[in-house]
């Protein structure tokens, strides 16, 4: 992928064109669309000249069809029962049409939406973030739900696009001690861009278990922002899996507003061919006694490129923070590339912050052990690759785990 770089100050012609072809702002997000377009017309397209985007130049988006996807194929019928909701998000139709909401779940009102939308994005430092503004500029719908205090909900969100732009916007508010298991599936089957901006606000003692499985194809791009705000005693477990995208940029951004919360991040990204997968995570402890347990894994084959940047901010207020971050990478080819970097900013003095990174190829001794039991080399390396991925996959909620046919994800060797 060769990118034609625009100078940081000049606006890209393709983006100008795209902006000019957007329909007039309308609907509940009209004001947001207006602001997003305004921002995009001023912000430079992220390019490798900017540190944050050093390895992932978005100029290549210009080669993708970015007119809004017309029809998406349903991968599961919308349904609901006493504790669960299964919805299709296609960016244009109402995902809740004809669906009865279970007890304890409400749609946010217009005024609540006006107040809540963008709050967590701001709290997690997404101001003027280009991919977020792209979503703002184009998303016409938002799924905005509140889970009532002490209620439990299972929510499945399905999105599948064949070609074009699919902007998805989700806002979730979890009241005190509410529990949400969110399984989200993103699929792309052709050339285009999936843009996801999800905000979640967890009140005291709330719990979010989010499994995100995104499987794309080589001419599809994914830009996903997961902004999560945690009050004390809340728990977040976010497990993400991306595979097959020509370009995937995932930005989980968490803030523990008063510390004393628990965050568990698990990430797995698979690249082959000439694919790029880039995870930039950001965790801010704005109060004391917060906990983070983060494991990010990548498998890079062919000429694939995997990028991980794990930012953890521990300011003076965040005493007795306990954070651990580990990046483990499997390099399957001489021409694949792994870039991994912890980015710890620690000001508080009474904290535990561990981090580590490993990059390795398949272990000769492990391969030989399997071969010495009659398992052929190809099957042995398949078993080892699956084993490497399993450490993340096993933390997905059961429904999302079934969406990962890891046996079918072909990881080409060099």
């Amino acid at each position: 992928m060769t990118a034609s770089l625009s100078a940081p100050t000049s606006r890209a012609a393709w983006l100008e064109r795209w902006l000019s072809q957007l329909p007039e702002p309308s609907g509940p997000l009209a004001a947001v669309q207006q602001r997003g377009r305004q921002a995009l017309s001023q912000l430079p397209v992220p390019s490798s000249r900017v540190e944050e985007w050093r390895f992932t130049d978005l100029a290549l988006l210009q080669d993708l069809p970015l007119t809004q996807a017309a029809g998406t194929s349903a991968t599961a019928a919308a349904s609901s029962d006493a504790v669960g909701l299964c919805l299709q998000l296609d960016g244009s139709t109402d995902p809740l049409a004809g669906v009865a909401l279970p007890a304890g779940v409400q749609l946010l009102s217009e005024s609540e939406l006006a107040q809540g939308l963008g709050h967590t994005l701001a709290a997690t430092g997404c101001h003027d973030h280009w991919p977020v503004e792209l979503n703002h500029a184009s998303a016409g719908r938002v799924l905005a739900l509140r889970v009532s205090s002490r209620c439990k909900l299972r929510l499945e969100l399905h999105s599948s696009v064949s070609t074009g732009l699919l902007p998805l916007r989700v806002l979730l508010v979890l009241e005190e001690k509410a529990e949400l298991e969110l399984c989200q599936k993103l699929e792309a089957h052709g050339s285009g861009l999936t843009s996801l901006v999800l905000e979640a606000h967890l009140a005291r003692g709330a719990r979010l278990d989010h499994g995100l499985v995104a499987s794309g194809c080589s001419d599809a791009a994914l830009l996903a922002h997961l902004a999560i705000e945690q009050e004390p005693e809340s728990h977040v477990a976010l497990t993400s899996v991306t595979a097959g995208w020509g370009l995937a940029r995932l930005e989980p951004r968490l803030v523990q507003v008063d510390g004393q919360a628990t965050s568990t991040l698990r990430g797995l990204q698979l690249v082959g061919g000439r694919q790029i997968a880039d995870t930039h995570s950001h965790v801010l402890f704005a109060g004391p006694e917060g906990q983070l347990d983060q494991l990010h894994k990548a498998v890079a084959a062919g000429q694939g490129r995997s990028v991980f940047n794990g930012a953890v901010q521990v300011p003076r207020a965040a005493q007795r923070t306990n954070a651990a971050q580990l990046s483990r990478n499997l390099l399957l080819s001489d021409r694949a590339r792994i870039d991994t970097k912890p980015e710890l900013e620690i000001v508080a003095d009474d904290v535990k912050c561990a981090h580590g990174a490993t990059v390795s190829s398949l272990q000769t001794d492990e391969l030989f052990y399997l071969q010495s039991r009659g398992i052929d080399a190809e099957q042995a390396s398949g078993l080892l690759k699956r084993a490497f991925c399993e450490e993340v996959l096993r933390d997905l909620p059961a429904v999302a785990r079934r969406w990962c046919p890891i046996e079918q994800w072909q990881l080409e060797d060099a």
Binding site: F368, Y369, L370, S372, G374, L384
Partner: protein, 264 residues
Amino acid sequence: MIRPDAPVLLEIRDLHARVEDKEILKGVNLTIRAGEVHAVMGRNGSGKSTLSKVLAGHPAYTVTGGSVHYRGENLLDLDPEKRARIGVFLGFQYPVEIPGVSNLEFLRVATNARRTEQGHEELDTFAFEDLVRERLKVVQMDPAFLDRSVNEGFSGGEKKRNEILQMALLEPLVAILDETDSGLDIDALRIVAAGVNQLATAENATLLITHYQRLLDAITPDYVHVMAAGRILRTGGKELALELEERGYDWVDQELAALAGEVA
């Protein structure tokens, strides 16, 4: 059990091998017939473990001369997996931990690879569970180990029992057990040895590689070979092991020095 008319399973002739630039095996000769139990003893660095790895086909070792035939077939031409499928088994001195690969799945895939080679049908999950539960008894192993990752977090004794369990499932014709006694306490040694004895038949053969006599108290060898400087220096019956235990290995050095003198 020595039967001169029993078929030859393994025939090693003047085997030379090196790892990186270092020559380790310098002309090993050994013939193993069905029904026999052989023990190879010797000091650290004498080439015992190298011999076992070369026979199993470890990629780090290069054969530089000589031949190995298994039931008439040139073993050195075959990939490690093929050697295993046709009935050559290596029990590892240090069994490898493989996090994330379930022990049960590993055992099933391995067993089916061997069965396919033998012209038997593959076992499905249920049939295999029945088989493995029966074979677990050979090494008195807790079925809970099946649900764990291969060797992950196993104690030294549990790893060795897992090796013998694999042997019980694969039913090799030549089992090479590389220091299977190392890291075992008395009870575990007794269990492992009983397992090996139970699996020995008139049709198969065992090659034990060990430092110590104590394994040979539990598994009686038909032949004991003393290895030094990459060769088999002397071959005898089980009394040779007792002699080694009594006299240590110093006499080996003297014999080697004498040999060197003759050559000079």
